[in-house]
Symmetry: C3
Subunit: 206 residues, 3 copies
């Protein structure tokens, strides 16, 4: 029987791979070699969860004893190096996989923070951090202004999902229901933004 | 009665808000949306203290259970987004608030490091890190060369204040006196640099 | 009698100074003042080991009670500020000192990770991180695309050295022998790359 947690775990892997591939595509823009591809993919795929766990003091880090995560990311990075043109054709797919990963990471980041004793506001912040820090690191290391910060409704979707999850949990809603609700909110907002080209008004001189 | 610690606490909040506003102004230069404003303000306002506590192993982090800090920073960021032109008129004020915050953070950063068992030299370094890391992170994320590092007497003022505090503490001076002396040194040097346009000689080819 | 560990310790210092000097030379390119030189040198010299220990939860950090490390780095940075033209003549020397430091850091980083209970793959990754993170931080703060990631066989050499060390340890080889073998592999690959101008093929549109 397919359990709820095994579905979450599958989404988790999909999201991590989507993050790793987006890192490898950034490495391609910088004309790195294959080792650079792997390192940027690792940074992007594991960055958010690593910062979250450092801030919460959750040691040892989850990937220190999970060689399969490193292997999956390395394989994804090498695959992009070898077959990037085809991946670019699949960029549309990537955006959706990334959105799914973002939705899950925002909710699970908030949950882990709550369990570690953070207050609700800090939990929402950690949800956003978990969902976005990998992508921010990727862009900072590749010397670009992080796209997450300047474009599209990404942080806002993560924040809304984390806020929804935290609110439901605090009002006593069952954990699995709150996870689904938070993910639906985050993914829904992000999906609408992708589909209809929504973006928040940027700051403008007045 | 106004206690010494409540004055320090007020200065702490003023400094954090000054850092947050400087982050929001950097977000304005990058034309981010309002969520980006808040994230950069959070990074700038909490970055220095967070790195200090991570390096010293002081967990849980101070802001995990202090929602009022996050709220103050978010309000400051939104206020800049809405009313930035007026804030730019107030940029002069900001420089002074930032100098006050820097002076306090340099001294308190050194104190916390001493209490955590760091040796005096590491304590001075952590004072400088606490006072400057938020601003460095802000500029790195916004893809600019950190101004702190290239211009004006900022790091030097923080270093002098932290060194003064550490020296006085090691020679047995009462804590509150050492705090005031360290802050006066850091703020005084920075204030003179702002007022008279002082800067250290940059590196020059010879 | 010259012990094996005292030789390693000397190489460690040489590597740290090489990293610090490369940081100061980057500060020179950005026309920083002398305090900026010292800060960039500290970041470059201590960054890799600091991240490694944060990820592994090895606190208190090694440099919190080792003022002599900070002093050596600060002296190196000031020396570059004062006498950079001569250091540039010595850039060839620097590349070799950096290669030696990289080889040692890759092996020791992997060893420390193994001792802290990381699995073999995570240990290799931490070897690479320890050898490269200082240089990556240096370039990120100075707003350049990290050269390590885009050019030359650097990460690959660190990875090969760490992998060699980890494999030998897991097959029961005596520690000192494995350290020497790992360093020879890492240094040898890097030296050949420097000497013969080897590089991996960068990603190319096809």
């Amino acid at each position: 029987m397919l359990s709820f947690d095994s579905v979450l775990s599958a989404i988790d892997t999909v999201g991590m791979v989507a993050f790793a591939i987006s890192g490898a595509l950034a490495a391609a823009r910088q004309r790195m070699d294959v080792v650079g591809f792997v390192l940027i993919a690792v940074i992007t795929g594991l960055g958010g969860g690593t910062l979250r766990d450092l801030l919460l003091g959750r040691l040892p880090l989850f990937w220190l004893r999970a060689p399969e995560l490193l292997a999956i990311i390395a394989i994804a990075a090498v695959a992009v190096f070898v077959a990037a043109p085809r991946f670019r054709m699949g960029e549309r797919l990537l955006v959706w996989a990334d959105a799914l990963g973002m939705a899950l990471y925002a909710v699970l980041g908030a949950e882990i923070a709550l369990l570690a004793g953070a207050d609700p506001w800090a939990a929402m912040l950690l949800g956003v951090v978990t969902a976005s820090f990998g992508g921010i690191l990727r862009d900072v290391v590749c010397n670009e202004v992080p796209l997450l910060l300047t474009r599209e409704i990404y942080l806002l979707a993560a924040l809304a999902g984390a806020a929804c999850f935290v609110s439901l949990r605090l009002t006593g809603v069952w954990r699995d229901h709150a996870v689904v609700a938070g993910m639906v909110v985050a993914f829904g907002i992000r999906a609408a933004a992708i589909r209809f080209g929504w973006s928040l008004p940027p700051y403008r001189e007045r």
